[in-house]
């Protein structure tokens, strides 16, 4: 009897093992919804339109005089001379200039809106050095009157970023500059997310003064490396889950981590890095950091010292987003030169961008680019308007990963178009009409196309 028992037990165990392999079903696969707040953007009423006889800067490095731009079904149909277009609405733009819609890669509209108010200060979750879990889109107040002011300056697309107190500030979001009651109504369909990172003085100051790491630049680097190491493990766990599941096993999904989801998104190549980083030596280290952990370092914002490493940026395919002339507000902004954008732009395979980071200068990004062009030309460069326009159109689109959709006046692209009353690089230039996806969203001479924020409405 006693002898018998073990063999029964063995039989029972072997039976249950067989049953397990043969008949246990896989659990439902754990999928992470990567787009839980999808765009609900709708193109505004639009019609087939031809803009005639303008000086056209295409954003592809070309200038065409006395040219026409034809917009059909919200797309650029043709750009050139004497385009035939029956039944199109005609805009006579003789003496005027036409460019692609202006794109600002660095804005805090909606998250630091006007009027400035404690209860609307939603741009920086400055509570710990890594807040990759926050998404700027969850802070956007679409009624910020600044969106309207920016549209009047020809801004058709803009990236809203979290602030720079943290090593990882969270996700940025790319918006169409159209009025809407909801953030989703502005969200640029299918634009990739960005991850805001910040080098240098800000994180070390914000946390250092709290006696929390990072307190130094080496602390900054340590913080990045530890986060990417953790993200690498997280990605490995998910990749293993995916592979095991695909192999027919029934693995347990890793615990979901909203913070690491974002970093994993970068490692997977789905989320672009937008790195507040002023100084040459720090940008170089951020490039090495990206190589250490296998992602691309993306765009350096406020890259005051980009001119010192312009070759390196071009070789590594980094965009640099710069101001023409902001400086002196902190040590890392001390070595500004007014030709920074032009020096970066002079290298083959470069990606030079003019950005605003300002609710005021976003209204005149064209003039910000103009300042660089003229100062550079006074100092030995030969930059034409057809080149300078790319700093606020095509290159900006490339930085945001939407260059297949906007940023140039090429057939098939979204009809994001600005008609200027004169050379847009004049201090007197005004955007007269602005189109997003072929729909007129602003007209300087027609109140029907001048949006007013709910906030401003009815104020005495």
């Amino acid at each position: 009897m006693q002898k018998f028992i073990p063999s029964v037990l063995v039989a029972a165990i072997s039976m249950s093992l067989t049953a397990c392999i043969k008949s246990e079903k896989q659990d439902e696969k754990v999928e992470i919804n990567k787009n839980p707040y999808p765009s609900t953007y709708q193109v505004l009423p639009q019609q087939t339109t031809i803009i005639r006889n303008a000086t056209v800067l295409t954003g592809t490095g070309e200038r065409i005089d006395n040219a026409d731009v034809l917009m059909i079904n919200g797309k650029i149909s043709q750009v050139g001379k004497n385009i035939a277009a029956q039944s199109a609405a005609v805009i006579d733009a003789n003496g005027k200039w036409v460019t692609p819609g202006i794109i600002d890669v660095h804005s805090h509209l909606g998250v630091y809106p006007s009027p400035s108010a404690e209860s609307h200060s939603d741009g920086n979750e400055a509570t710990q050095p890594n807040t990759s879990e926050v998404w700027a889109e969850h802070s956007v107040w679409p009624q910020d009157p600044g969106f309207n002011r920016a549209r009047e300056g020809g801004i058709t697309t803009l990236q809203i970023l979290p602030g720079s107190a943290n090593l990882f500030g969270g996700r940025g979001v790319t918006l169409r500059n159209v009025p809407s009651q909801t953030m989703q109504g502005m969200k640029f369909p299918d634009a990739p997310y960005g991850l805001k990172m910040a080098c240098g003085e800000n994180p070390k100051r914000v946390y250092g003064t709290k006696k929390v790491s990072p307190a130094t630049r080496m602390g900054n680097m340590a913080g990045y490396r530890m986060a990417w190491a953790e993200a690498t493990e997280y990605k490995r766990a998910w990749d293993k889950y995916e592979a095991d599941y695909a192999a027919g096993k029934n693995p347990e999904a890793p615990a979901r981590d909203i913070e690491l989801d974002t970093l994993k998104g970068v490692l997977d190549g789905e989320i672009k890095i937008h790195n507040h980083c002023y100084k040459a030596e720090e940008m170089a280290m951020m490039i090495d950091l990206s190589k250490e952990f296998g992602y691309h370092a993306g765009t350096f914002h406020h890259a005051i010292e980009a001119y010192k490493i312009a070759d390196k940026l071009a070789e590594n395919g980094n965009c640099a987003a710069m101001w023409p002339d902001w400086w002196g507000f902190k040590m890392e902004a001390y070595d500004m030169i007014q030709e920074n954008v032009a020096v970066v732009s002079s290298k083959a395979n470069s990606c030079a961008i003019v950005h605003s980071d300002s609710a005021t200068t976003i209204q005149r990004l064209n003039q910000e680019a103009g300042k660089v062009m003229y100062r550079a030309n006074e100092n030995g460069f030969d930059i034409k308007p057809k080149d300078a326009i790319t700093w606020i159109t095509a290159n900006a689109a490339k930085s945001l990963g939407i260059d297949d959709k906007t940023g140039t006046l090429e057939s098939g692209k979204n009809a994001d178009v600005v008609i200027w009353n004169s050379n847009p690089f004049s201090v007197y230039a005004q955007a007269e009409q602005v189109f997003v996806d072929g729909a007129k969203v602003y007209d300087r001479f027609d109140e029907n196309y001048q949006a007013v924020s709910d906030f401003s409405l009815g104020q005495q």
Binding site: G370, K371, N379, S456, Q459
Partner: protein, 409 residues
Amino acid sequence: MKLFKSSLLMVALTSAASVYADSVAITNATVHTMTEQGVLKNATVVFDDGVISAINPDTVEADTSIDAQGKILTPGFIGAMNQLGLVEVSAVSSTRDSGEKKADITFDASVAFNPKSTVIPYTRKGGITANITVPRGGDGMFKGQAFLADLSGDFDSIRETNVAVIVDLGAKRKGSRAMEIQKLRYKLQDAQEKLDTAKDSNKDEKQPKRDEQVIRTLLAGEKPLIAYVDRATDILALLAIKQDFALDLVIAGAGDAVSVANEIADAGVPVIMGAINNLPSFDALHRSLTSASKLFDAGVNVAYSVSGDTHNLYMLRFDAGISVANGVKKEDALKAVTVNIADAFNIDAGRVAVGKKADLVLWSGDPFELSTHVEKMWVDGVEKTTKSRQDALRERYTAETNMPRAYVK
């Protein structure tokens, strides 16, 4: 001969405070005089030892003659309401001398002015030859005394100290704006009563305290009170105080001045504003890019200041240009950065006229255009370069070299 030259050089170096300036004639210029003379075409301006000695003289006698080839000559532009010379790097506390917790109405920061600040040659790129530097003061509403400095970069840059009293009113982070307006009124009232009593009793009064002395200069109309304020009701409250105490009042900031433009014009009060500030605050719901033109139209003397960081002061001319694009007449915009700012602070500057300091700028084109640069500029009759540290950095990093760039100088 060689010896002679070097000894002359010695003299020049040792007496840098009073550099001998050659006489210079600028011929064939389009001169915006900012006086009743208006714009003079093909004009000649002569200056000697730092002072304009002749305009369109019958015969030109000067050590140096410069053909302007029809280009525009203006008075040097004047910056205001910033911390030029008091702050080198904003976030570096050891380079900031513009404020002090306990600084009060007597605070004069001019002793701290650094003429060797890198911000000064950079600012000259904007055609700015003089600046009203305004301290940030301390916790109280009076921020201290403004001073006038030129942008020569010389150790004797300060031209005039204590040119205005600065008071900051309007929206408060804590408490009520009403308290500050009330305190200002009481301070003036108390000082006035003390004066009246002293007069009535015919007795020698005790030497008034330093802050009382400053208040008395305001009551005597000897210097302006520059009040930072935006909301229309605050502006009206200040106009009433001006009326009651016969103050020389200037409104700065002035976000919602458009709402009470006529009242400001009737009171003869100048306004110093950022020409491109158009985003709303609760104190300035109505400001827009057309605010400046509406104020000019109402008859207000408008002057411009660049808002934000002092390092951006050079942009003053661009802001003026943007105001022109939004309805301001070009000549009015020019006034806003020359005579109107000078007159708001009662300083002798901002005009091209015989007897005035030779603070002049010759422009490559329209002074407001982005494409224009300063061709030549003179501060107190001495030609000044617009080259700055930024140019040296650019040249270093665009030079051809096989050596580390640290060797490129």
